[in-house]
């Protein structure tokens, strides 16, 4: 019997395990994927000329095994081992509503491949549902999460600048990765042309300057290589492998099992509590159970919905903690892929040195300082860079010495801005189980039905219009624009399937991320989110995880769970 079980070792599971272990709980982390080793499993040592097949995954293999994962920008021959084979992990969608479920099953989950952009939600975001009536009201406000944001930012290390913006609260930052001259030009143009808009350094969980508490864990400062999604042997960005699990491990309270797929959570109707989890060995396919006093669900938004829906009993015929019928519903992802690229006709005659692991961020301004013809809003990620060899060589015809000469010259500045928009919660966007269709481990596969609504489509149009206007304000000639949002899922910010709320009839979790129906069950991955804001969400999952761990331990001490 453990004190706590954490299901999943990714972004939220790593943080939950650290906080539980540090508070003295004997904690078992159960991970469905294989074990990876910090350092030894990484491919950041590969020089460009070492990349298998010049970075490309064989075409037949891509089509056969990675038709969905390959829609993600970070999938290449150096990172292939971090992505699930779609052929081995099937799910279904309605024919006219595709959804890209992008994932990695291994120790550390997607904390290994993430883009590390880290932004707080703001007071406005926690009030949005109450204000416009979409979704259910958040049971907490910004002020309640702020100290946990402080704690998590300090621990993981977030580089960023203090800006004093109400819609994007400042945090405990390491020095920012400074803007280059192309980006300074964009900043000046945008801030002058559109008062109220800001162009700031992208806030990112990379150690611009490692602090002693990072170095204690063997983490050192970022070397500006931008090889992050291959894993970083310097431990210079936060992941479960480099940061949260080692912190949990040094307490002596951590046990990890890998290759163990949680099938369902067991529940005792007499006590009303969860007793443990049923696990299937990924290799032998044999079943076993683990027991604990509290259980943390951190298997990611869709994974957690799958586990809860599959945990049926007489007391919970529709799945555990699902008396509200909200488990699996309100699936949200950020509007993604709405990008504008433009060439600066008169860019500064300077260059930069190093491959900084971030770019610029343009915080939300619609329905903040400027009106929008839709609810909520969006932020932009972007950068200004000198056009590289690939585009210089391939973007136009030409061969021979002339081609080499062209590539050898420093290219013009290119600005790219890409909008991330808030999707409204909609109970019809949901995850269900395919009764009778099980995977090779006997677990029912999921059916994901999710589509953009009218508000989302209106927003997408304005994202492109605003993106173009800002690139043009900087003197950019717009070369390309992706005017259609990518299918839901591609934002890789899926959330909402076990939302927090005040009303147990309309939500799954209370203000402590504790299931309304099952007091010793806490869920702290993206499924807890009652709305998404437009900010990259992982920092919020981690803050919620740390906060919930604190409360779970208090409740245990008080004999309440």
């Amino acid at each position: 019997m453990f004190d706590a079980i954490v299901i999943g070792s990714g972004m939220s599971g790593g943080m939950a395990a650290k906080e539980l272990c540090e508070r003295g709980l004997k904690t078992l982390v159960i991970e469905r994927g294989r074990k990876l080793e910090h350092g030894a499993s990484y491919t950041d040592w590969m020089q460009p000329w070492d990349l298998p097949n010049a970075g490309l995954i064989p075409q037949d293999e891509l089509k056969q095994d990675y038709p969905i994962q390959s829609k993600c920008y970070a999938v290449n021959s150096a990172t292939k081992h971090y992505w699930v084979k779609d052929s081995e992990h099937p799910y279904t969608t309605p024919e006219d509503k595709s959804f890209a479920w992008i994932r990695g099953y291994h120790l550390g989950g997607r904390s290994l491949m993430w883009g590390r952009q880290s932004y707080r939600l703001s007071p406005m975001d926690f009030e949005a549902n109450a204000k416009d009536g979409y979704g259910t009201d958040w049971p907490i406000r910004y002020e309640e999460l702020a100290p946990w944001y402080d704690q998590v930012e300090k621990f993981i290390g977030v580089a960023g600048s203090k800006e004093g913006l109400a819609q994007l609260p400042d945090g405990e930052f390491l020095p920012p990765f400074a803007l280059n001259d192309g980006e300074l030009l964009l900043k000046q143009a945008v801030e002058e042309t559109f008062p109220g808009r800001k162009v700031i350094p992208g806030r990112v969980a990379n150690l611009s300057k490692a602090q002693p508490h990072h170095e204690e864990l063997g983490r050192t400062s970022c070397q500006n290589r931008s090889l992050c999604e291959r894993g970083c042997s310097y431990g210079a960005y936060h992941s479960s492998l480099s940061s949260s699990l080692p912190a949990a491990e040094r307490t002596g309270n951590l046990t990890i099992v890998t290759d163990a797929i949680v099938h369902s959570i067991a529940h005792d109707p007499t006590t009303g509590k969860a007793t443990g989890v049923r696990v299937i060995d990924a290799n032998t396919k044999e079943g076993r159970t683990y027991e604990a006093k509290v259980i943390f669900g951190c298997a990611s938004t869709i994974g957690t919905a799958q586990i809860l829906l599959n945990s049926r009993s007489e007391a919970f015929p529709n799945g555990l903690a699902n008396s509200s019928d909200m488990v699996g519903r309100n699936l949200i992802d950020h509007l993604y892929g709405l990008s504008v690229a433009g060439i600066l006709l008169k860019g500064p005659n300077t260059y930069y040195h190093g491959r900084r692991p971030t770019g610029v961020y343009i915080p939300r301004f619609r329905n903040v300082t400027e009106p929008g013809e839709f609810l909520r809003g969006y932020g932009f990620q972007g950068s200004a860079t000198r056009v590289g060899w690939r585009s210089a060589a391939l973007a136009m015809p030409g061969i021979g010495a002339e081609l080499k000469q062209r590539v050898r010259k420093l290219g013009p500045w290119m600005i790219v801005v890409s909008g991330f928009g808030e999707m409204l919660p909609n109970p019809e966007n949901r995850v269900t189980l395919n009764a009778g269709d099980t995977d090779q481990w006997g677990i029912p596969t999921v059916h994901i039905s999710c589509t953009h609504g009218e508000n989302d489509r209106k927003m997408a149009k304005q994202i492109i219009a605003d993106g173009k206007a800002m690139v043009e304000a900087a003197g950019g000639m717009v070369m390309a624009a992706a005017e259609e949002p990518g299918e839901p899922g591609l934002g890789i910010h899926e959330m909402g399937t076990a939302r927090m709320g005040k009303d147990p009839k309309a939500s799954v979790l209370n203000k402590y991320n504790q299931a309304h129906d099952v007091p010793n069950l806490f869920i702290t991955d993206g499924s807890a989110m009652a709305s998404s804001g437009c900010q990259n969400p992982s920092l919020t999952y981690m803050a919620l995880s740390a906060r919930a761990a604190h409360h779970a331990v208090e409740f245990l001490k008080e004999g309440k769970v």
């Binding site: 000329w49 990008s339 190093g354 060899w389 080499k404 010259k409 005017e483």
Partner: protein, 205 residues
């Protein structure tokens, strides 16, 4: 970091170059190159020779190494074997035959047997015509922007892309033609541009 893989590969390349007859005169013999690598190849000798000549024409040796010195044809052939689908293989093979046929029609000789200038003059207009991009049949989402361009001549498009990629990802190109630091260390947001400044490689784009 010590990199044994890299050392082995480098000596392999050197051995191959010796066999291929890189002589004191400093030139490559295309047929010899084809023969030396014939053991384990995907392309037949004729097409490999054409490929080598095409690669040499797209990225010739100038004051820096060209595609041949960077071993592009051998790597290209390996990618046909290890990476390409049957469709890509046949598109590439057809595109190589097409170039050879163009040469025979215009000059009565295989492409590989032409001198460098004649090859360049023949391939340049073919390159321009082949790389025209047809309008995409889907709407402009991010997938369209990320995908392989809809070239009028997809087989040639692949050849061009692979030759360029394999060249600019090679160690000689990244040390002589461009610059590459695996571990830049410091981020300097602004440095002056001088006549010696070379673009830094490192991203795939």
């Amino acid at each position: 970091m010590a990199d044994p893989l890299n050392l082995t590969r480098r000596s392999l390349i050197e051995r191959m170059l010796l066999v291929a007859g890189v002589t004191a005169t400093g030139g490559f013999s295309l047929p010899a190159l084809a023969e030396s690598a014939a053991g384990n190849r995907h392309l037949d000798a004729q097409r490999f020779t054409v490929l080598s000549a095409v690669a040499d024409t797209i990225v010739p040796k100038t004051d820096t190494v060209g595609a041949l010195e960077a071993d592009v044809p051998t790597k290209f052939d390996a990618m046909l074997k290890d990476w390409a689908s049957a469709q890509t293989r046949s598109q590439v093979a057809a595109a190589l035959t097409e170039i050879d046929t163009l040469a025979s029609r215009a000059n009565g000789k295989s492409f590989a047997l032409l001198d460098a200038k004649t090859r360049h003059d023949l391939l340049a207009p073919h390159d321009a015509a082949s790389l025209k991009v047809l309008p995409a049949d889907t709407k402009g989402g991010v997938a369209t922007l990320m995908g392989f361009p809809n070239y009028t001549n997809p087989g040639y498009g692949r050849i061009k892309e692979l030759v360029v990629m394999l060249y600019y990802l090679s160690e000689p190109a990244l040390t002589q033609e461009l610059t590459y630091e695996h571990t830049p260390g410091e981020w300097k947001p602004s440095i002056p541009v001088t006549p010696e400044t070379r673009p830094a490689a490192g991203s795939m784009y």
